[in-house]
Symmetry: C2
Subunit: 606 residues, 2 copies
Amino acid sequence: DSLMNRKFKATFCSNVNIQYLLSFSLRSHTCGELCSSHVDEEVTLCGWIQYLRQDLFVILRDFSGLVQILIPQDESKSELKNAFLGLTVESVIMVKGRVRCRPEGQENKKMSTGEIEVCAESMEVLNTCRKLPFEIKEFVKKSEALRMQYRYLDLRSPRMQYNLRLRSQMVMKMREYLCNLHRFVDVETPTLFKRTPGGAKEFVVPSGDPGKFYSLPQSPQQFKQLLMVAGIDRYFQLARCYRDEGSKPDRQPEFTQVDIEISFVDQAGVMSLIEGLVHYSWPEDKGQINVPFPSMTYEEAIRDYGVDKPDTRFGMKVTADDCSRVCALCCQWKLNMGRWRKWMIIAAFALCVVQEVSVVPVRADGSLKSPLSRLLSDTAKQQLLQMAQANAGDLIFITAGPRENVRPLLGKLRLQCVELLESYGVPVRDPSVFHFLWVVDFPLFLPKEDNPEMLEAAHHPFTAPVPEDAHLLYTQPRKVRGQHYDLVLNGCEVGGGSIRIHNASQQLYVLDTILKEDPSLLSHLLEALDSGAPPHGGIALGLDRLVSIIVGAPSIRDIIAFPKSFRGHDLMSRAPDFVSEEDLKPYHISVVWPSADIEGQQDNSV
Amino acid sequence: DSLMNRKFKATFCSNVNIQYLLSFSLRSHTCGELCSSHVDEEVTLCGWIQYLRQDLFVILRDFSGLVQILIPQDESKSELKNAFLGLTVESVIMVKGRVRCRPEGQENKKMSTGEIEVCAESMEVLNTCRKLPFEIKEFVKKSEALRMQYRYLDLRSPRMQYNLRLRSQMVMKMREYLCNLHRFVDVETPTLFKRTPGGAKEFVVPSGDPGKFYSLPQSPQQFKQLLMVAGIDRYFQLARCYRDEGSKPDRQPEFTQVDIEISFVDQAGVMSLIEGLVHYSWPEDKGQINVPFPSMTYEEAIRDYGVDKPDTRFGMKVTADDCSRVCALCCQWKLNMGRWRKWMIIAAFALCVVQEVSVVPVRADGSLKSPLSRLLSDTAKQQLLQMAQANAGDLIFITAGPRENVRPLLGKLRLQCVELLESYGVPVRDPSVFHFLWVVDFPLFLPKEDNPEMLEAAHHPFTAPVPEDAHLLYTQPRKVRGQHYDLVLNGCEVGGGSIRIHNASQQLYVLDTILKEDPSLLSHLLEALDSGAPPHGGIALGLDRLVSIIVGAPSIRDIIAFPKSFRGHDLMSRAPDFVSEEDLKPYHISVVWPSADIEGQQDNSV
């Protein structure tokens, strides 16, 4: 708690005119701000009973921290004393009293207000608290279901208070940067929209017109481009987006993106803008970050890390022989791991057992401990060690095959390996380090998974080709790179954007000829491009994920006030819920109940 | 246009580091910023062709304004000249050139850049524009349907650019006030929620669980209160809200409110906070507003204005005789109106013809021109004139009956009368004047319209009673006043809020005993109040309406980028739209088509 108190002070109370903090409120001070400079002052505090101690003290809590209240022991004040002693934990009180230094030797250095205490002179109970399902203490472990059901209690924890306040403050800084420094216009776009072609993941909203539905958009993509056509020049929005993905862990049916679009800009312009944005809004207590961020092509990312969002906080790159036929990954096993080494090698073998990957531990003397060893000549062994850049004590993963399969496989093993090492207490990635990375030069189209003869947009059909590849659109579309850029943080994609197609006929060609999609569904956008559309581009940052990485939260649910369970349920209010057929009538819909055997399935999962 | 140019400059370009305005963009300057201090500078401009003039000039437009580009007439530059002459209106170009003073006598004082012009040295066509359905000029009158269908063109007008930019800037100032000055926490709350009891106006969203639906909330009321229970202390959010009201003019199915909640606060505290907020965020070019705002009780508002949201920009109060049996409204007819007077009296009679209101014109000599006149004694006539505070030339509306009918009737006539006067060119209300007003002391409960024996919440069931009336809850609930406050601007309700009930048993009593609602539907809220809820209160401002009044827009559709028609349709993308039964399957719903005779009705309205 005391650590959190300090963090609050550092992050949220600096540069604040204290006058303002108290504005419009019944209190004269907040609990957490009191210190020795307030000694002898008369204060009025409002807050929650954290706990009572030895009938002598009450620890009072508000959003800013904790303070110790001294319960008067004097006979003449027995009424006040009894009132205090009758309090239940988490009840809400208002206390008037005088600040004094704690007696010598009784200071609490772990508490930011630990030098002082407040001698209570009067107290009013504002609300009493029933017996709660769990205590409001960081170390009390609760199940996620219980936390969600009583979210209003869970949010009282210092950790959640810190997360929500940091999120709010970061968003405010982003707005200052965009709106005040760079004159972006904050424009709200509709969330009751039209289903986009192939929008299988879009929630539908029945309207009063029979058979007609709105759709909750996955992003304001069309609107942001139309705003550029409308001459808004610079648009941003903290946009609520919706995606119905059923039960994917760590996805939310509604999420927020920092949505940005800018006219008369190129790729470098958008990237600089975002670097400035992240730098400007970066929380003070999270250290410095350096801009510009490094950049890597899609090609390089797949080659070296087997993935398009590499975690560059550690090495362990995928290596290959000269003809790229054999690929290897070298895990720098720590020789000093002693007795864990055996178990880790077993675990590594387990990881690889179904994946046609050989695990080759390198002994302390440099020899290979593997059945392969007997089959290879000394030169071949030497070449393997050299290719994998392996040393004594390391562990080599080795495999061969087509590069589009082998690299991603080793890329996955690379991450599993690090998790394995960390689970054994080997610190590979520093949790206080933030590695931003741009990944660029993505292919514009990819073969469809279910029909590789056909192409689909690698990101979305509005991405413009890299200028020097544009002519290939009409001859070899598979070779065209897009002006797309992904922002990666510590191996997670936290943003993606592109320069858009602003030419109507190029857009029509991509939709119609290359992607074989029905262009009439986007006729309003095509018409708009034909009406004087400026060159434009933009980006969307995934705010929830970005903030969760910054605060080190294990889940995005920890930086959202009222998240849904991974089944999409609100466990507090029990949403979604049944609606009567009567209430559905105005929308001309009716429930189609599943047949009996499916109906029998009880849904007890969270 | 020139006026708009100037307004842009005044409102949006002051205090801006020009360096920033151009950041990350292909241009060196914006069109509207150029003036005589730029003479001899080489500039790069990007924008739209507003028009070509005499093959000599191009007027180029961007968001900041217009500038004149001189087309070179020199033989050696005929290629460049021809490129210019081939341009269609609204095409997008990038021009490089040098700024120079216009020749003497050719300055245009109506144009903010009218002292200079730019001699084009090179030009690149970034996009060509087809023939548009209407011109981008303020004075070109278009139908609303056409404006909505081509919204991306409509938004290019200076008026719409001004409206959207003013809205963005006002919202930014509000955030600075709340977040930076008063340490409010910006918390996002879910829009996929649970249907609230009696939430007939809530859109439903089918989920993947058969028969279960989310609901799009009309406001984050429950969440904001839960955040106070969670110890957030000060919450705000620019919250998207949803209300399915079918085809009400000037309502939108989705709208935005400035949503605020604060702990340990009283009514006066919230009111001061909002006065500060409005004052701080008030647009510079709209003059000063004075705080604190005047305050009026509900009782007074109904008595004097016949309505709970009086337009106090003019007098014409409702008056009554001593026993409040006879009520009158005196319209100060202007004697100098000459020939219009007759027509206005006829119109006034027409207004009253079905409403049992007598219209009594007062002649220039002070006599009454009415059949009533013959029935009344001279004393009675004198009393009438005195009661109505009428003078020669005025028009008196007079009626009698129960006060709850008569006052609202005259209140309505009061507004109709003023509209009548203004339609004849008599300026009653100054459009540049902004009258804010608090209305307080509302009744907490009102008799249900369809069953006056039963009570319903005047605003919502979470409003706390005025402390001195609290004991009446249990004896005479009809007499209880609520701690509710409405903010009224120029006769429109732009905000409403209250101090909330924070005591679980009082909340249960209101829901269960007084309102006869099923409290189990709000069990999570009741449990939360029992878990250490602080005293709290808040408010929600209707952002769309507030901004539309400030910019003097005839409809809230003029300050929303992509509004729906009053039938709830998006005329640009044609939302809502049909969804296949196949796509509805995952949601376990099916369309119930209306019977044939209803189906025959074609919906052609906007």
